[in-house]
Assembly symmetry: C2
Amino acid sequence: MNSKKAVERQTGVALWRQIADLIRLAISNGEYDKTGMVPPEMMLAGQFGVNRHTVRSALAALAEEGLVQAIQGRGTMVRRKERLSFPISRRTRFSQGLSDQTRDLEARLLAHAVVPATGEIATGLGIPPGMPCIEVEALSSADGRPVSCSTSYFPQARFPGMAQHFAQLGSITKAFAAEGLADYVRVSTELVARHADANELSLLRLSPGAIVIEATAINADPDGVPVQFARTRFAADRVKLKIET
Amino acid sequence: MNSKKAVERQTGVALWRQIADLIRLAISNGEYDKTGMVPPEMMLAGQFGVNRHTVRSALAALAEEGLVQAIQGRGTMVRRKERLSFPISRRTRFSQGLSDQTRDLEARLLAHAVVPATGEIATGLGIPPGMPCIEVEALSSADGRPVSCSTSYFPQARFPGMAQHFAQLGSITKAFAAEGLADYVRVSTELVARHADANELSLLRLSPGAIVIEATAINADPDGVPVQFARTRFAADRVKLKIET
DNA sequence: TATGGTTGTCTATATTAATAGACATTTCGG
DNA sequence: CCGAAATGTCTATTAATATAGACAACCATA
């Protein structure tokens, strides 16, 4: 499996970036776990069929991300390797099931507003179009690195203080509890992968061309009444979604 | 929302590719549905803050994908905008649930071999490493456009004729039936999104920089014994995954 | 049929990405 | 303490990307 990996030219994506993506992938696949080091620059240059300087550009980008660290005379070592594994199931909770993978998990309220429910959101929440909803923008980070940003909608009539509770508690589950909803389940999830837009690039601190996985989900109370319409964008190279059926 | 959209320089991703990605996104979001036309090149150049020639490079790439078509004197029209919706559930079948979205659905055997089970595959199938498995490479297309390619592993001892059956029947479900397995269920699915590699680009007829969603799944018989380890790569801009819990 | 708006094509130039080579600096092991 | 192996830095050159401007070809329509 150590043969030459493919990079293509004249594709609008610089070679150093393609190589950085491949090395990032190799790191998260654990290919360098044995030594904890990235192979020497000359060896990588040989594998990818490019000049050593091109490899250096790729490694510099990864160092900038904090993924690797080069030490003169020794080599380049892997500092971090992870795709956080997100469980997606009937009882999906953001914070649960992640606590064993990372120490510091944080969800931050970015903005909130009251907006009328439009077509897709009204349908998802099962309410008439035009009904007021609380829109909540949030950013979730693990160990200081953003992993996802989300836009959620809650029916205002039922959960008037959702935004405030979430801002204080930093958790949707806890905010629901504060609103008197002890339990809820995931009823539908749709996934799409696409390139990140400008807003996502800056929020998630990604570089252009990066990928996001967009999950559109509906949560409902135990009686099956929808309580949340959420659109979460994950930084694709930081997560793995684990579907439990 | 029609103000200037963000493209960034010196990021390793050429401006024309960033712009192509943004236009592709706008098309799939239905932003040009009213007229069926992409805005004039000069207008796009203004929106993105780049030269007209740069926009032309982006549009040329999209025309190459068959997404738009330019007509001299008139403008550039949208030719295609769609994502197939794939159901993912405990009873995931490729062909089922898609027949209402597309007329012509096809799965083709690309290659097959007998290989020893390695770590991940052996673990997934619950067999000792080194046991022989049948490896099957397949390509699935809808209406002549490839949507996914997959690599599957079946324990040879139990399903010796899997490759032949699949080649003849064009369906995993039918091939299992021919091997005497009437029913099976999905026990785990993991999703990752990443840039397509060279092999995937050519198989799925994608343009460089395109995204694939990689689903690593295990199917088991009704007794819970794993029967298939599959890694399916979907062309991300052609599909939507619908998770049913 | 004249005109304005659009895509198509050409030339020229500047900036960025990639290759090539040389050599310095640091680390580690014999 | 020497030498092999690794990263760091510099110069020079070529290829790809981006900008700029001019004008041709074509379409719709007033």
